[in-house]
Amino acid sequence: MLPYRTISEKQELIRSGKLSLLANVSFYLSRIRELASINAFTEVFESDALSVAEAIEYKIKSRRHGKLAGAVIAVKDVLSIKDKTLTCSSNILKDFKAVYTATSVQKLLDEDAVIIGKTNCDEFAMGSSNENSAFGTVKNPHNTDYVPGGSSGGSAAAVAAYMCDASLGTDTGGSIRQPASFCGIYGLKPTYSRVSRYGLTAFASSFDTVGPFSRSVEDSALLLDVLSGYDEKDSTSVTRQITGVYPVLHEKKKFTVGLPKEYLTEDLNPEIREKVDEAASLLKKAGHSVIEVSLPHTQYAIAVYYILATAEASSNLARFDGVRYGYRNEESRDPAGMYVSSRTAGFGKEVKRRIMLGTYVLSSGYYDAYYRKAQQVRQKIASDFRKVFTKVDLLLTPTTPGTAFKIGEKNNNPLEMYLSDIYTTSANLAGIPAMNIPAGKAKNGLPVGIQLLADQFNEEYILQAAMNFNKL
């Protein structure tokens, strides 16, 4: 569909005059229009994108350009861009104009990327199917009867359906990796704190991460390097020096890769199991060693995650009260009534469900039984990973228990929906990096993904190992 595979190849074509960036941006804009029924975007920056194309093309040709020059990138609509609408796919923020730009987006702009628009997602990034958006469900480009995954469904669908070169998503419990898996592309959740959260609307602050979607490992590495690093505006952001992954991407290292037995149980869809086995034998053939390992507390991850993430969400979303910004319901004549009616009308059902759960587990009498208990089990899950990473460099697992499900299929069963995050939430609990790698399709024609995980700040291993799977 395109004469290039990576952003770097694209820059080479532009430099040699074989590709016009303006034509390329126009191509993507026409794809977005043709595929409007996928519903991937909440807003398209048509004139902005076209107006910067020529200047960036000139920069590329004169060899004075940023690392992402000419890369057409979409941004999940939970990240701020000054003076643009920031909806978080919620009615409560439908008309909100951002007053500053998220650090992650600013870094893309500083490296001469073309920001093509904001992508649809589950409301406040809460969901695994993108069905919880005030702007409607995003559809899976491989089969529009199916969900694209969530919560970064629009970002995943936009990359998979060639509406942009790459996109930014956010991952709190799997919201980059699961939609990447359902849409058949790469999706990288970085180590917690590696990428600044400044300008990201907080869902669960001790879990939230910002990361890239791409159609190649090379582009994931390039984007990760641009996004990484300390930001004085995010007090949790990493203070240590981060070295680039992109320059060492092609280094051939021999890794020890662990297959956690708790992830490969009989509940797993056999076709996905087959892909994991195939990946393991491919790694062995390439000279890596693959061993079975154990993460004994895996079965508790979903319970821990949905206690802690909802608790943090209930606290973070308390700021939406109709006073300073966002939707205000005018019917009430007293402030407390205004908070209640604004929140009740402004939030969607899943967001309310999570606020309710989070408020419950934090409420007097239940705090120790749920919240504190979950924090202790989080420690045990993190400790499982610390132990296993003294023996292995990487873990290889499925990303999801099945391929994309049908729109509406799990909508009436929240617990079943939560359980679909079974292989992804652990990485957020431990704050470690993890990536979805597309591994072909299942018999139903839908993509299958496998996941690589590494210890904190070892994204380099994940991306180097992912280079082995170019043929999968």
């Binding site: 507390h297 006073v323 004549r333 993190a382």
Partner: protein, 94 residues
């Protein structure tokens, strides 16, 4: 521990949310299912385990209290549902 509809109403009040009677019944059922699933944590002995609040392991970061530019009152108020001069306006409190 089973969640009653009265518990759900109390939680809604704390969370500044309101629901219809039908929704309260639905939420009560859902919260019992979800919290019932979460009860599996109680099978695990966590005596002496230090609760983990954060994966970054940092302590408080302090910075010098220097005067730096920030957003203007006009910018801060541009999303206000209602304003009066440089203030957010709300329904009468007393």
């Amino acid at each position: 521990m089973a969640v009653t509809i009265e518990d759900v109403k109390k939680i809604a009040d704390l969370a500044r949310l309101a629901f219809s009677e039908e929704e309260y019944i639905q939420f009560t059922g859902e919260m019992n299912t979800i919290l019932g699933y979460m009860d599996k944590l109680n099978k695990l002995d966590t005596t002496g385990v230090v609760p983990m609040s954060h994966p970054a392991g940092g302590v408080n970061f302090m910075r010098e209290d220097e005067l730096k530019p920030s957003i203007s009152p006009e910018e801060a108020l541009k999303n206000a549902p209602a304003r009066e001069d440089n203030f957010f306006s709300v329904p009468k409190v007393i």
